[in-house]
């Protein structure tokens, strides 16, 4: 298996988080460097909780998180230095311009000013934000705001990019730009872990797909491997996904 020769970008072992019921239940997951990994699951399956624990927004009740060989629970700052997080709600400041926002993010990640500015200008250009780079974000559309947030996630050149439903509410053009940027990051050796409800996106973009239900990983592999597992070799990902989730529910 080619993936096994790659370095491990993200490893979760026995990851557990309970609220009233287990949201994430002893989850084991491995994502390799240079891989586009898509995490699928029905609503309330534990996808977002898992990712929020990985980026340090939630504390797990049990288990370990390793990011590029760094124990994220023992040394969160070091793990955060190589990780970026993009949620479905763009995390930007209305009263800052994209340029100011990227300067702020570069400062938080301790990127030196010259490198940070060069990267920021490149990303702004790449995402088609150049005409708006000195305008306050308050008047931006959802798509533009998400592009600014994505630029913020990339300005510190992370090894691991974690995205939670990043395409929600984006128009076709913006969604394509975001997908292109992510593919290029993977081609350049970066690792992407993304949740999405748009199964076509996972089908077309992901190297491997993990299906999560009730806080546990119920299936994992390439699209063909998942099809094989579900017993329908020519099925679409949607059919495969629904069958796997139904089997788990039963």
């Amino acid at each position: 298996m080619m993936s096994q020769k790659r370095p491990v970008a993200l490893a979760l072992r026995g990851l557990t988080k309970r609220y009233d019921r287990p949201a994430v239940d002893g989850l084991d997951l491995t994502v390799y460097g240079g891989e586009f990994y898509s995490l699928l699951g029905p609503n309330g399956a534990g996808k977002t909780t898992t990712l929020r624990m990985v980026v340090g927004l939630l504390k797990p009740d049990a288990g370990t998180i390793t990011v590029s060989g760094i124990d994220a629970l023992a040394d969160p700052a070091a793990a955060k230095q190589v990780t970026a997080w993009v949620s479905d709600e763009p995390m930007i400041y209305d009263k800052l311009t994209p340029f100011e926002y990227l300067e702020f993010v570069a400062g938080l990640w301790r990127i030196d000013a010259k490198t940070g500015e060069a990267r920021a200008r490149e990303l702004i250009d790449w995402l088609g934000l150049t005409p708006h780079m000195h305008e306050r974000c308050e008047g931006f559309s959802k798509g533009m705001r998400q592009k600014v947030a994505l630029a913020g996630a990339l300005v510190h050149d992370p090894k691991l990019i974690i995205l939670d439903e990043p395409l929600t509410g984006l128009d076709a053009g913006s969604a394509r730009q975001v997908k292109t940027v992510l593919r290029e990051r993977v081609a350049a050796g970066g690792t992407v872990v993304m949740t999405t409800h748009i199964l076509e996106v996972a089908e077309r973009m992901a190297d491997r797909i993990g299906v999560i239900a009730n806080g546990r990983l119920i299936a994992e592999g390439t699209l063909d491997e998942l099809r094989h597992k579900s017993g329908a070799a020519s099925a679409t990902l949607e059919d495969t996904f629904l069958k796997l989730v139904a089997e788990e529910a039963a």
């Binding site: 980026v55 340090g56 927004l57 504390k59 969160p76 700052a77 070091a78 955060k80 230095q81 990780t83 970026a84 997080w85 949620s87 995390m91 930007i92 400041y93 209305d94 009263k95 800052l96 311009t97 340029f99 100011e100 300067e103 702020f104 993010v105 570069a106 400062g107 938080l108 990640w109 301790r110 030196d112 000013a113 010259k114 940070g116 500015e117 920021a120 000195h134 305008e135 306050r136 308050e138 008047g139 913020g152």
Partner: protein, 505 residues
């Protein structure tokens, strides 16, 4: 039941929204707190009646002679300036809250009817608020001086209607003069100035003429009474009404209702246009000065980000302006005392310390709780401790910059008073920041207006802490060991807050 789409149906809808909004404001969205809120209101009401009694009971036998009419008119004008300020803020909020605008304007209901009801709702809300504030004072007067004093409620209602009418007219005039983008900020500033102007004006006159901060001194001056129109003048109709003249009350109510009716008839047809123009403000482009990245540490970046956001926040700027406006009379007293070499400077110390505590509480909420990108800063490779310290430093630096000039000026007149005020400002600001830190929540900056509802304990603790530090500073400046009493009270408040604050993960 009224017919859907009719004025009464719309009014019932607005009333339901208004009541639910108010309940949400009082209970912070938790219905289980309703009983606690009712009990707290009852206790507060009793407390306010006890406070009001020594303040106004001696005026219960007042008769409508000229000195009384002048004083009552002054008090009514003082109250009216605050109501007008509140009305302008409500109208501005009504313009800029997009809320159900799309639904209203795309429905077959006449927008004119909807906005007519909304203007009436603003008037009713302001009158209700004013009546609630006036309640303990009017009750005490009525209890001691007879039912004639209940006419004051009618005066308050009339003032609410007039304030709403003028508030709508002024805000619409600003809209037409300077456009929707500038109006959002300017209307806030104008509202703050109107709210403070009369009060400050009275204090300025008191300082210049009598050498103290009393607002009533100018209203009772022989000069003013000698130059005032006769007791039969129409100018005193509101005062006569407040003193229990029911024919004057009838006249006043009729005038206010006609004015409100004319305002509704004139402005409701265009209210929708203004609201649409206001909703487009967020689509307009504001460009910032271009410059390159500068090398800064994460903490420096966080501090700078807080300052930039504070400086670009129009609502906060108007609140800050209000605080600074209230510092004008003390500043004038400082200048006058400096010139005359009097010892009135001690009065300044608690005013400055109190203002610093209150302003720091607001800034701390914005900086610590009002973080619009909480996930971003939480996923940055910076420790939570560094993050919090950067925000605290941002608040304390802002307070230092605002109050340093006043304290420096005080230093020329009295180095001791300046030293006490400076130390008091720091400690009151630090205490308010600490309270906000203990009760921090995750909120958007736009929720600033409702910050008091997120934790009533924090709100009261912040207010009592500022008052205690102000009292302690005043007593230290006066050179008495009694300062230890309010200082220990303030420390007890901070200790209590730390004990009952929610645990942090």
């Amino acid at each position: 039941m009224s017919r859907p789409g009719s004025v009464t149906w719309l009014a019932a809808h607005e009333l339901r929204l208004g009541v639910r909004d108010w309940l949400s404001l009082m209970t912070a969205g938790r219905r289980r707190r309703l009983r606690t809120v009712v009990i707290a209101f009852a206790v507060f009401g009793v407390f306010m009646h006890l406070i009001a009694h020594p303040m106004v009971a001696r005026y219960a036998g007042a008769q409508p002679d000229l000195p009384t009419l002048v004083s009552v008119t002054g008090v009514l004008l003082l109250s009216f300036s605050l109501l007008l300020s509140q009305a302008m803020e409500s109208v501005t909020r009504a313009f800029y809250a997009k809320a159900d605008l799309d639904l209203i304007l795309t429905s077959p209901v006449s927008p004119q009817k909807v906005f007519a009801v909304r203007i009436a709702r603003i008037a009713a809300a302001i009158a209700a608020m004013a009546m609630a504030i006036a309640l303990p004072f009017v009750d005490v007067l009525a209890f001691n001086g007879g039912v004639r004093w209940l006419a004051a409620y009618g005066v308050v209602a009339a003032m609410g209607a007039v304030a709403a009418s003028i508030g709508v007219a002024l805000t619409v005039a600003l809209f037409r003069l300077i456009g929707p983008r500038r109006t959002r900020f300017v209307a806030q500033v104008v509202a703050a100035v109107i709210g403070a102007a009369f009060l400050i004006g009275l204090q300025v006159v008191a300082i210049l003429s009598f050498g103290n901060l009393s607002r009533l001194a100018p209203l009772q001056s022989p000069w003013l009474i000698a130059h005032a129109p006769g007791a039969t003048s129409a100018l005193w109709v509101p005062a006569r009404a407040a003193l229990g003249d029911f024919s004057a009350l009838g006249l006043l109510l009729a005038f206010s209702l006609v004015l409100l009716g004319v305002t509704i008839a004139l402005f409701s047809p265009r209210f929708g246009d203004h609201a649409i123009a206001a909703s487009g403000v967020s689509q307009t482009v504001v460009r910032q000065h271009r410059r390159g990245f500068r090398l800064r540490s994460p903490k420096q970046m966080l501090r700078r980000k807080e300052w930039v956001l504070l400086a670009r926040d129009p609502w906060l700027m108007s609140q800050t302006l209000m605080q600074i406006l209230y510092l004008l009379p003390p500043a004038l007293l400082l200048w006058r005392s400096f010139r005359d070499g009097t010892t009135a400077l001690i009065v300044l110390v608690p005013v400055i310390v109190m203002a610093a505590g209150q302003l720091a509480g607001g800034l701390a909420w914005l900086s610590i709780s009002g973080e619009d990108a909480p996930d971003l800063v939480a996923t940055a490779p910076i420790s939570a401790r560094s993050l919090i310290w950067a925000k605290i430093e941002a608040v304390m630096t802002a307070i230092a910059v605002i109050f340093a000039p006043l304290i420096a000026a005080l230093g020329f007149a009295s180095p001791w008073a300046a030293a006490v005020a400076g130390f008091g400002v720091l400690i009151a600001a630090a205490a308010a920041t600490d309270i906000q830190l203990c009760f921090r929540v995750q909120a958007r900056r736009s929720q600033f207006r409702r910050r008091q509802t997120s934790s009533r304990v924090a709100t009261f603790a912040e207010a009592f802490s500022s008052i205690s530090w102000a009292a302690a500073a005043a007593l230290v400046a006066a050179g008495t060991w009694f300062a230890l009493v309010p200082a220990l009270t303030a420390l007890a408040i901070i200790g209590g807050v730390r004990l009952i604050a929610p645990p942090r993960d």
